[in-house]
Amino acid sequence: MNLHLRLLLLIGAVLFMCLTVFYIRRKGLDLYHSIICFAGALLILLMALFPDVLEPLARWIGIQVPSNLVFLIMIAYLLCTSLSLCAVTSRQHARIRKLVQEYALLEKRVRELENARAPEQTVETQGGGKKID
């Protein structure tokens, strides 16, 4: 593998790691999901440091240029990442749905309780509370 490509991968891996740390510290990326990013950086780092492993592997699969194997590995990594992100959004979607439903049930109960109270009580309360609806 070309030395320049190795250097580029090395720099990319270090930059990606720094960016991940920045996101953890400043942008609220949680540690659980940062593992995906660190795994990606580590993958690039390993390929830059030990390109000798790639060559026989590339030959075995039938890829003529080992650098193309780098692309293949990165595409596989991205596929796995997008799958896990889909799982995350699905779970969050289900949770949001449940919250909206519970909230709606609660809102109905509150509305009916307020309607059942005497009207003069609901119009003005001491704390300056307002009547909803």
Binding site: H93, I96, V100, Q101, L105, K108
Partner: protein, 226 residues
């Protein structure tokens, strides 16, 4: 016997009041629960004015999520039967009590109001009928039960099925894939012949591209329920 009629409504200001009046008249003795699925029009005001029991979803969840909140409500309040009926006036509420009586006689857990037993009334377009036939065949192949109108949104669930639906109901196009969910848990699903009207206002949520998505999604979902 406690019966809850769940009426999902998304931007149905033109017809929701009439639908509810119709249910009161033709299905006396039932409780009505309209579910305003984050409508942008006057649906909420109309429901408040009417005084009908209703849920207001703060985010549009889609038909499945809206109806599921109704099943959740039925589950929490110990209803014996929950009826799901469209808010756009397609379904005639006078079938509600006959469907429940039919379910009791058959010992069924879910009863689907079906257009394709007597083939009367609005029969949908030819491509849609073909799609429904495919899903019906898939359901029959995988679950061994023939349900002709698998996509019908007019259905009655008993207490046990209410519990299943409160737990698990798809967001979009939930009708067809909720049937295998019930069968898989050992429930009995039957059909009852109904006549449906063509919708007079609003638009069906399913266009040509969505139809393809519907078919693929429901097929995956039915397979997933095995």
């Amino acid at each position: 016997m406690k019966v809850l009629v769940i009426v999902p409504a998304y931007n149905e200001e033109a017809i929701i009041a009439e639908t509810i009046r119709n249910i009161r008249e033709k299905a006396p003795g039932t409780d009505i629960l309209a579910v305003n699925d984050g409508s942008a029009d006057r649906t909420e005001e109309i429901l408040l004015e009417d005084g009908v029991g209703h849920l207001r979803l703060s985010i549009n969840l889609g038909i499945g999520g809206a109806v599921q909140s109704g099943y959740l409500y039925a589950d929490r309040h110990g209803y014996d039967y929950a009826v799901q009926i469209d808010g756009d006036g397609q379904h005639d509420p006078s079938y509600i009590w006959p469907m429940i009586r039919h379910m009791e006689a058959e010992g069924a857990d879910l009863c689907i109001g079906s257009r394709f037993i007597e083939n009367k009334g609005f029969q949908s377009s030819a491509p849609r009928r073909a799609g429904i036939r495919f899903l019906s065949a898939l359901t029959r192949l995988l679950c061994g039960v023939l349900i002709r109108d698998v996509t019908s949104g007019y259905r009655v669930a008993n207490r046990r099925t209410i519990g299943i639906f409160a737990e698990e109901y798809s967001d979009d196009y939930p009708e067809a894939d909720s049937i295998p969910a019930v069968i898989r848990q050992g429930g009995k699903v039957i059909e009852y012949p109904v006549v449906m009207r063509e919708r007079t206002t609003g638009r069906s949520s399913i266009g040509p591209v969505r139809s393809l998505y519907y078919m693929i999604k429901v097929s995956i979902s039915i397979l997933n329920h095995l």
